[in-house]
Amino acid sequence: MSLFDKLQGELDDRNSEGGISPVDLLDLPESLRRIMRHMLRAVTMPRKDIVAVVASWPEKDRFSEEELDKALKSLVHQGWLIEIGEGDLLGYRVNLRRKKGSENSIWGTIGSRIDERIELNKRAIQNKPEGEEPPKEE
């Protein structure tokens, strides 16, 4: 992967606000929570495998293929699932929301202070006369 591709990938990730948070899973109906768990483990799950999972449930919990497709489409529409392929090769993967950083929190401040300190120490080492110690931490 080229440096540009890597940078572009990172920017795409950061700009994407969509996706499901693990907290959102708690609000889904039990049957969909169960399917999402399977998909998280499989990473990408062919539609036919999802149909097979639903078919393996007790009759009272099962739903029709039509209802399943409607539910999957709705999750795709919300940006919580990504549709991959088509026809017999149709599959889905869970689109987890990026874990947000805390740019303005204490971690941003600590990170900047550590970077500043490293830079100061580097400069002090580059400029110091032979045998002299770098400045001590505050």
């Binding site: 990938g9 693990p22 708690l26 987890l96 929301r97 874990k99 941003g108 550590i114």
Partner: protein, 261 residues
């Protein structure tokens, strides 16, 4: 497909990393292929139990999450390095298939990931990929205490969840919330592990009482012991002192894990 086991607690200081390291080691001693991933990115610690430091741990989960290395490159083969160590417990892991995926302990790396965030899909894919790449029978996830997005993700993908608690009122309330969430996330096998129980307690009575309150199986009740404190995370206690009551309790939990088909 291998099994994913999350070891979690609502509060810190319950002995989570120690329990994870001991359980994973006991399962590896039985000849299983075992991985441990340290998802406690903001306060990693499990590497200490395996004698690793900043220099010796090699690549970290932080580098993987930034896309700089593959997940296979993060795997530290503990069995390969255990033969020539001084610690009696860790030495028993020589030649065993036990791999650690450590998080970085560099201040700059920790603050960087907390500041920038990361791609949660990549973390999930990494965990699934490490199981396939190393053909693992079991992957243990050492989590950050409390309820947050990483914890919920770990619970969501786990076959087995072990919640560690102490007999303490704050732990009781927090664990009750976590049990409710775990049940909502449909974890197949949920167990409580009570740690640091005072020796004057009737451990069987305590087990029955907690099982009644939480409507959840207690895998073991482990005693509070100065011997563990003295060990100071320097060795894998249950391997170094297999006849100790704490170790016997831990072996009981390992047997429970192994019994789940």
């Amino acid at each position: 497909m291998g099994k994913i086991i999350s070891i979690h607690s609502f509060r810190g200081g319950t002995g989570k990393s120690n329990s994870t390291a001991n359980l994973a080691s006991l399962v590896a001693l039985k000849g299983k292929r075992v991985g441990i991933v340290d998802t406690d990115i903001q306060s990693p610690g499990i590497h200490v139990l395996f004698g690793l430091d900043e220099k010796s741990m090699g690549h970290t989960l932080n580098e993987y999450l930034r896309g700089e290395v593959s997940i296979e490159q993060v795997a530290f083969n503990i069995g390969e390095h255990a033969g020539d160590v001084d610690m009696e417990g860790r030495r028993k892991l020589a030649g065993k298939a036990l791999y650690l995926f450590p998080s970085s302990i560099k201040g700059t790396e920790i603050s960087r990931i907390l500041k920038d965030g990361y791609d949660a899909n990549k973390l999930n894919e990494g965990m699934q990929d490490m199981m396939k790449a190393l053909n693992l029978d079991y992957l243990f996830i050492d989590t950050h205490p409390g309820l947050n997005e990483e914890t919920l993700l770990s619970i969501s993908i786990s076959d087995i969840l072990i919640l560690i608690m102490r007999p303490d009122n704050q732990d009781f309330q927090g664990t009750a919330v976590t049990v409710d969430i775990a049940k909502l996330l449909l974890v197949d096998h949920l167990y409580l592990l009570v740690n640091k129980a005072l020796s004057r307690y009737d451990l069987n009575h305590l087990k029955a009482e907690i099982e009644g309150v939480f409507d959840t199986s207690v895998a073991a009740v482990l005693p509070l012991t100065e011997d563990m404190v003295e060990n100071a995370s320097g060795d894998i206690f249950s391997l170094a002192f297999p006849n100790h009551p704490w170790s016997k309790g831990m072996m009981q939990v390992a047997d429970t894990i192994l019994s789940i088909g």
